[in-house]
């Protein structure tokens, strides 16, 4: 296991078929998950869009949307990035091809089970952990398969030192296992119903420890790992600071796990726990921005290409949104701010600036960069990514601005008093009524973003299905 610089050893053949599988799954689930997102946004703006059917109400489709975009779209791009980059970073094929395929098909099975059960109302109700207990068991098995393959690949690596991307991937594999198992502990009553072993506020704290770290370790650390691999590869610039990446990694994973109680501020959760959650959330700004700056400064010397290269445009906006939402999040964790923002659309806007801006944009960059490499052909529609970029950017702006406005409106009106010291808007539904224009604007923003995703899907599938028009490019060198 000697450190070997340069390109891959001649005898190693990377498994890129599995990368292609995960990438195509990413694109398919992106379309599905975001279509459901636009639909449920419409249901809020225009209630008859619930269709009068049990299976299509907001209450049942909202978990379908969140699960589809986080675990189907987000999960599949993480696995795409991990399977592509870790083979190259460790200069070895994935440890076991059968486990790779079990992982792929097992994960897609989980997603299909989710898509079938959630509209039927089969749910445990914990946000982002709604899936019923038999599916939870399946997730655990698939994760074990992935974990064995992941650590097996590390064990047979041809490079001694683990690159920073691998650290972040490792924290993803370990932490998601811990979070999923602890939060899902429940006693089954029937095959489709169970009750968690925790009660009340303890259950709430366990759930938000899980829920916030689903953001931290599903939507952040694997994506940061991908940033550390793909950003330098795509921009052809070395990572700005190795020291910063060390601090970024350890501070981020240590601090993130404490932040959960900021979801329960002003609840009857013991005050010390709320204060810990708030304090650690604020401290999280430091590693988050350290990582963001490490990403942005890596682009030093490549800024001229941002003007012309849509992939770099996506990357710059992705890292910028990472910075913005990791600033906004800690601000919203401050009690005084949270007293206004909690329960409002502001939270929804915040989440979407992170997911659409950071997770979505970096995914699009990686997709447009990987497809020509993996299939040895140029994109069918080389100009579409730029259009996609602008649709996505304008869509996010409309989305977040409308949700800020809606959140501030309802938050302020809920707490507004008249001169006599009574509630100025005692009738809740009067406040709901004022949000309608913002809800419509949100649908428009979501629709623009979704249109971009459809363009990407068409582009990818026409590229893949079309003929290999270009001669095979030179084999990708080492990192």
């Amino acid at each position: 296991m000697q450190y070997t610089a340069g390109s891959r050893p001649a005898e190693v053949r990377y498994d890129d078929t599995i990368v292609k599988y995960f990438l195509l799954a990413t694109v398919i689930w992106a379309v599905v998950g975001m279509l459901v997102g636009v639909w449920i946004a419409l249901e809020i703006a225009y209630w008859p869009a619930n269709l009068g059917l049990p299976w299509t109400t907001f209450g049942r489709l909202r978990p379908l949307h969140t699960n589809a975009v986080i675990f189907a779209f987000g999960g599949n791009i993480c696995f795409t990035g991990i399977y592509y980059s870790m083979q190259r970073l460790l200069k070895t094929r994935m440890w076991n091809d059968t486990l790779s395929r079990l992982h792929f098909w097992g994960w897609q099975l989980v997603i299909v089970c989710a898509a079938l059960t959630l509209p039927l109302g089969l749910t445990q109700s914990k946000e982002y952990a709604e899936l019923i207990w038999p599916i939870d068991v399946l997730i655990t098995l698939v994760w074990v398969v992935f974990g064995i393959n992941f650590f097996g690949t590390i064990a047979v690596r041809k490079v001694q030192h683990l690159y920073v991307a691998i650290w972040f991937y490792m924290s993803f594999v370990i932490t998601i296992a811990v979070l999923h198992i602890v939060n899902s502990l429940a006693v089954p009553a029937t095959f489709v119903r169970s009750y968690p072993i925790y009660a009340g506020l303890t259950d709430a704290l366990v759930q938000w420890w899980y829920g916030h770290n689903a953001v931290g370790f599903f939507l952040t650390t694997p994506f940061l790992g991908m940033m550390y691999y793909f950003l330098p590869r795509i921009s052809e610039r070395p990572v700005y600071s190795y020291r910063l990446s060390i601090i970024h990694f350890w501070a981020l994973i240590f601090l993130y796990i404490w932040a959960g109680p900021h979801h329960l501020l002003y609840s009857a959760l013991p005050e010390w726990a709320q204060t810990l959650g708030m304090t650690f959330s604020i401290m999280l700004i430091a590693p988050s921005w350290g990582g963001m700056l490490n990403g942005l400064l890596t682009l030093r010397g490549a800024w001229d290409r941002v003007r012309t290269d849509p992939i770099l445009k996506f990357l710059v906006v992705a890292v910028s949104f990472y910075g913005m939402s990791t600033f906004e999040g800690p601000m919203m964790s401050i009690r005084a701010v949270n007293s206004l923002s909690h329960y409002t659309n502001w939270t929804i806007g915040h989440v979407h600036s992170g997911t659409l801006g950071w997770n979505g944009m970096i995914t699009f960059a990686i997709t447009y960069w990987l497809v020509p490499k993996l299939w040895n052909r140029p994109l069918s529609h080389p100009t579409w990514p730029t259009t996609h970029f602008w649709l996505a950017t304008i869509g996010i702006v409309l989305y977040t601005v409308s949700m800020w406005a809606a959140g501030l409106t309802e938050g302020l009106q809920w707490r507004a008093f008249d001169a006599a010291g009574q509630l100025k808007y005692p009738n809740f539904v009067d406040i709901v009524h004022q949000l309608q224009p913002f809800y419509l604007l949100r649908v428009l923003g979501g629709l623009l973003y979704f249109t971009g995703v459809v363009m990407m899907a068409v582009n990818v599938f026409r590229t893949v299905a079309g003929p290999a028009t270009a001669p095979a490019p030179a084999p990708a060198g080492a990192r």
Binding site: G52, T57, F58, G59, P63, G121, T123, Q124, S125, I154, H161, L162, W167, I174, V178, V182, A186, V187, P188, A189, R193, Y195, P196, I197, Y198, A199, G200, L201, D203, A204, L205, V206, Y242, I246, W250, I253, Y256, I257, W258, L264, Y266, S267, A268, L269, P270, W272, Q274, L276, F280, S339, Y343, T344, E410, W414, R415, Q422, L423, V429, V432, H433
Partner: protein, 245 residues
Amino acid sequence: MSDTTEHGYVAAHRTLEGKSAIFAVLTTVAILIGGIVEIVPLFSARTGPELLPGVHPYSALEVAGRDIYIREGCYTCHSQMIRPMRAEVLRYGEWSRAGEYVFDHPFLLGSRRMGPDLQRVGGKYPDAWHYEHLRDPRSTSPGSVMPPYTWLLRQSYDPADIQASLRALKRVGVPYTDSVIAGARADMRTQAQGIVDRLKQAGIDATADREVVALIAYLQRLGKDGRAAIAAGETTRTGAGGRTQ
């Protein structure tokens, strides 16, 4: 990316990067600490949420109704947690105490108020109001964005399920006695008939086995024990987790 001269923690880290097992162990330790510090004390009576005397487990029918509340995702739009702020107390009633939730498996605090908080909705409206509101939300709340839940008026809950549910809840710590579990179906019928009778007085013809009856039973229970306990003079520490504004 490597610095030309490495020393101190950078050199140490470079060595660590070559030892993947130790790296994985340290990562695991780093991600466990926060959760352990925050969660474990909640299982201790001294440092965990306070208890509120007078809060009782849900009845069999209320458990069935709660399962429907969960199935329909009511918690995606309605919270069950009133914050200790004047505007919230005026709008919804007494702010939420930890002890009110001790039989909630799972918790249903919610995270979004598309509609109003429901923690103290129990007893706020007559049964018939809930029936009409679930059938056609705009008949009772003009301008509401809530979809109608007409199938709750047609579908029946499965009384055969309830004993399995109560047994599972008992195993996670809810103090249902064996006689309560054995009599669950009869108890359900009695409570459901009471709701059906009240609906009849309001001119609504409903059958006792319909899902809407179970859901109404749950909604009418919400916050009642807590309100009574608070009115009777709460003795536990006040203001845990929040301060009045």
